[in-house]
Symmetry: C2
């Protein structure tokens, strides 16, 4: 049932004044309209549908702030928005930032681009959605280049105005006076705004993800291990690679082929190079028989030597990319011609997915802002959404084939939450890659801190340890040719973590199902974790660590640790470090490897040694592990599950199951089974798993429980 | 007489197609109109009037390229422009860049801002005017944030299209294929374009400068030496500073007071601090009696404690800067209230000018793009023109008072060519300051590579040596308190150059008059110098150094040497250097200090020692020197002139003269006298100066000629 609340806001300048209406479209989700929104926006580009089934079950939440403080004005062809900020409020999100988590006090010009080393809004996924520490989120649904002033601009009529100081003599003078608003510049004559009132920041993010269709559910194999081979590898080398993984006992679920699979690349033909790959269908089959899938690199720019060139030319933009034409992915003919080409001999022979490169930036390569497209989509709108469109049309190709895919893409935006793609880039800072992982959870995208190459065995292992706790466990060795065992001195530890990734497959798969059905990001910032607070003011007065554990932590950004699924707190080590601090939220936390007590609501310092990446588990956690298979299990396989319980509290886990590869789960062919650990009459912890549902998928074999924490 | 040529260009997309008309408005200057230009643009903001008297005397030149290759299209509220590029063409200009001179291959998003360390279009004067090595210039007259794609974007229908290559196998693949166009994104539904066909690049620049009103002519004292004192200096300290310069024998023409002259600063009251300055009028008089003027720092943001605050408040923007309100300088009431405040007790007591700070950026300080102004000027238009408006209204204040001013400003744009302000900033790279000086000449602005502080005596001297060959010879010591003599080990050399600056006053004053009357930039790039070519192709085939001397130089940017006036080639030394290379244009060149032959159309390597900055003079140059006065001469003073001749060729110099301080020259009260050096019957060089004109200013005393180059 939809409820309508119309709030008429008087706007300051009569000439531009337009009332803004807020309509509650789902519990805790309001839509507002300023001016005349454009027909083409981020959500229409993505064609995402709200996951109404889950949304309608949510509790109602109050409108997140006094609507009188929201301001919208249309003038000079632009829309100006203002949202309130309170003194103790922090703002997160606004896309895939690499160096910052707290966005208050920053100005971001959202623009799809490669990441240039500064968090200025130019990034692979500049999602115009922000999350407040006060427990709400705001999405500004425009495909234009918008600028967000996040607590920087100060109006002369500000509600909570700072006072002027004399810089000559007043040591309290500051170059950045206090601002009580988020202001947004939208270069269009109107825009839709969505408010998500979540109760908590995580609740706001979950509503946002569900509103955009729910998160992506990869096929089970997508959560296995993947290696990308050198760019000019031929079919025999690819088979040899798969064989070597098998022989050495390292897990492998899919291999990525780089540009050399094509007859021409940069721009592309989308056709196999028959010299290097004389029998692609045979290769695909041969690898599938070994439990290994193929993923194909491409960029969407069509070579004049491609067989589709003449057909697609009328459906491309005015400007070329590396002399290739740019398919107008809002032109149905362009999409048909392009995806037909991908289907034939690729998708239809079992190729599992694509790595869609170069849809982000940089300005020198991509079409300029003066480019035109046949569909009428402007160059800026196309830039903001091209990655989303490429995801959408390739994902549909797989949906039509009844197979789930899980690929890579360089650009995304709001509305692509449901698309089975993981973002990646060339920027190769390990710490910043982790910060991107932290931020990915605020904005409905997935990110892999890929391992590419390393100068030292230590760096190799440290990067490997963290990529295992990410959406895609990938070595991207197209240039370096590095293998998991390339550094013999740490090959054992690398294998340990590759196997751990496989053992955690039931956990991560269930966590992705939660993303799909409940909107909970599987990888996310500490700020989204209960018991972890940005600001201690709500507990002001107390300096007792038990009451107010974040006394020290409140003023700094926590950007080097994150949550992996419901229970795991991951704190990566970077090359050169021998110790680090970890901030534990309130509640008892335990060492993932040993089950030993680690702390409660405090900052701890750990020296894990080279062998381990610090991981902590919340009291009462129940985590499903399977055997370290070399390939993900198929739909008919039975897999033994060991549920590991941590701490002393009772707890439970909901284990998700389906066939792992098709869309049958959308027709109800899935199950959630609950593993429960509780204390029996003697006070001992015991575990049990609920029965499988009749007629539903069930890949669970033998079930055991292991209690990691000895009573203390 | 104006001639009308209408060229109808057919545009590609019918929906957006609009014919573009070109009208020849002065010889070699065409105006084109795309769509419906906005009422407010850069030239209307500046209110500059073409210097018709000089323009109408120019020779006619051909339209610079095939007009069919110019493309204009209006769509989606934006204007898209395309101009042709030839294979061997280089592009210069597009504002005050600090690190690059060649702009072809670059993308610039023009946006007034502080300089952030990258030439990306964000700079103090992002002037949308470019100069081609082919001898023409293009001005796109919009006050919006435009993006210039300067030979980067490649259209699929390009006239001179590159061919696609396969990156897999073709080593000739390039990430940036050849582009045959400059494309411009203008976020407005139309724009005016001006073409300047100059025959040479310098001719194009001269036409541009004259079209914008001619260059700025400072008062004579503006070309003297200036020191800025510490920010909280009081009146007694200012007097003591002037006295110490006098006592130590260092020239000084004006002293700059920093924020502390005001009762409140950042934001400002524009009122004297009566504690530090109990008698401002007395101070001004006292200093003027010593031949020293005062310049006052300010930013335009009005403190709530300013006496004008309540009056000006209704005429300010929606957003504050450091809690000060922002006068809408397109609102006549705001201008009246503000400039009345400046007039009373400042301009009217003889304060010589202002340093207008903080009108450039940065985004965190200035009004955001969502700001509104009472005049209807949008926030982006205001950002692009605020520096110009501040120059315009303060310059008028001085014009009304009948006194010329010469001040400092942090932001400018097209159309402010005639305004008596020099740009400066906080970025303090000596090499990049020189590159800014090189680029300033392309875009009608003046720039000072100010000396602020130095780590070593060497750096101090090197910076000092180059600032002497710039529009404003300034030590900006408001923070460091450094004096010319602060490094005793180089105090003698510093004095030598301070005196040299004074000796060159007749030369620089005449060169500024050429800027004013003929549009020739007094400080400019080598690329504007006859005999210096960007590209050797026009002389292809010859590898003879005499025929084609730039064989080595053609492919690199020359950004560390420049022309100072008609004759001087200045090649600064930077701290740490003991030698450098200098590229001499075709023709014989001579050492400025010794008159010795230095080279001809070649690259030389010099080791000048610490005492000297390398300066070279063209064969046949005649340069006027005066005595090293401590203060600029007044209108009734007679000054002895020594004309120094270099080389062996005959030559001449036109010496400009006027009263040096008022606008009487605009009513014809000025003179040009010609100094001629020719060979007499015996083959000896002799010199003579033409007689003064009756009734015209004449400050020339005794005249001598000195022949710097001995016959060889």
């Amino acid at each position: 049932m939809k409820r309508l609340i119309v709030l008429l806001l008087m706007l300051p300048l009569a000439a531009a004044a337009q009332p803004m209406e807020w309509t509650e479209i789902f519990p805790g989700i309001w839509k507002g309209v300023a001016g005349r929104p454009e027909a083409y926006d981020l959500l229409t580009a993505a064609e995402c549908e709200p996951f109404a089934r889950s949304l309608e079950r949510l509790e109602r939440t109050p409108f997140p702030f006094d609507p009188a403080y929201v301001n919208a004005e249309v003038s000079d062809g632009n829309t100006y928005l203002r949202f309130p900020l309170e003194r103790d409020e922090q703002i997160y999100g606004l896309g895939l930032n690499f160096q910052t988590v707290h966005q208050r006090g920053r100005i971001l010009g959202l623009h799809v681009d490669h990441y240039g080393g500064r968090d200025n809004g130019r990034t692979h996924a500049p999602v115009p959605f922000y999350v407040s520490s006060a427990g709400y989120g705001v999405l500004v649904n425009s495909a234009r280049y918008m600028t967000f002033y996040i607590g920087t601009a100060v109006r002369s009529d500000a509600r909570d105005a700072p006072r002027a100081r004399d810089r000559n003599t007043d040591s309290g003078w500051t170059s950045r006076p206090y601002s009580d608003a988020v202001e947004v510049y939208v270069p269009a004559e109107g825009v839709e705004v969505y408010l998500f009132s979540g109760g908590t920041p995580l609740g706001a993010v979950e509503r946002y993800n569900l509103f955009c269709g729910g998160g992506a559910l990869p096929p089970r194999w997508g959560l296995g291990f993947t290696q990308r081979v050198e760019k000019l590898s031929d079919a025999a080398q690819v088979v040899a690679e798969a064989e070597e993984f098998e022989r050495r006992g390292y897990p492998l679920d899919f291999i990525g082929l780089e540009p050399g699979w094509q007859s021409r690349a940069y721009p592309c033909t989308f056709e196999w190079d028959t010299g290097r790959f004389p029998d692609p269908a045979g290769l695909t089959r041969q690898l599938l028989d070994r439990g290994v899938r193929l993923n194909l690199w491409m960029n969407p720019y069509v070579s004049p030597e491609a067989s589709i060139y003449n057909d697609i030319l009328p459906h491309t933009g005015t400007h070329t990319v590396w002399c290739g034409v740019v398919p107008d992915l809002n032109d149905p003919e362009a999409v048909r011609i392009w995806t037909d080409r991908l289907r034939q001999g690729q998708v239809d022979t079992g190729v599992s997915g694509y790595k869609i490169d170069e849809v982000d930036g940089y300005d020198h390569y991509l079409w300029p802002d003066v480019a035109r497209f046949p569909s009428g989509t402007s160059a800026d709108q196309m830039r903001q959404t091209y990655g989303v469109l490429a995801q959408k049309v390739t994902a549909r190709l797989y949906r039509d084939a009844g197979m789930r895919t899980f690929g890579l893409v360089r650009a995304s935006n709001a509305g692509a939450n449901n698309m089975p793609y993981v973002l990646y880039n060339d920027y190769y800072s390990h710490p910043d890659f982790i910060t991107a992982l932290v931020n990915s959870g605020f904005c409905g995208v997935l990110w892999t801190p890929e391992v590419r190459s390393s100068k030292t065995a230590e760096e190799w292992l440290r990067r490997f340890q963290s990529v295992v706790f990410s959406p895609m466990a990938m070595i991207n060795a197209w240039s370096s040719g590095t293998k998991p065992w390339s550094f013999p001195e740490v090959a054992g530890q690398v294998k340990y973590y590759a196997e751990l990734r496989m053992m955690l497959m039931p956990y991560f798969y269930s966590e992705f199902a939660r993303y799909r059905f409940e909107g909970t990001p599987p990888f996310r910032a500490m700020a989204l974790e209960p018991g972890f607070r940005y600001d201690s003011r709500t507990e002001a007065g107390s300096r007792d660590l038990e009451d107010n554990p974040y006394l020290e932590a409140v003023t700094r950004e926590v950007k080097d640790q994150y949550m992996a699924g419901k229970f795991l707190l991951v704190a990566p080590m970077f090359a050169g470090q021998t110790s680090r601090t970890v901030i534990l939220p309130q509640g008892n936390w335990y060492n993932f490897y040993t089950g030993r007590y680690a702390g409660n609501g405090e900052e701890i310092t750990v020296e894990p040694g080279l062998d381990f990446i610090p991981v902590y588990v919340r009291d009462g956690s129940v985590i499903p592990f399977m055997q370290p298979l070399l390939h993900s299990p198929g739909p008919d396989d039975k897999v033994d599950i060991e549920f590991r319980h941590y701490g002393n509290r009772e707890g439970s886990y909901r284990l998700y199951d389906d066939d792992g590869t098709t869309f049958a789960y959308e027709d109800g062919l899935y199950s959630w089974r609950t593993a429960t650990v509780s204390r029996n009459a003697c006070g001992e912890l015991t575990g049990s798993l609920s029965d499988p549902e009749e007629g539903k998928p069930n890949t669970v074999g033998r079930v055991t429980f292991r209690f990691m924490t000895r009573s203390e």
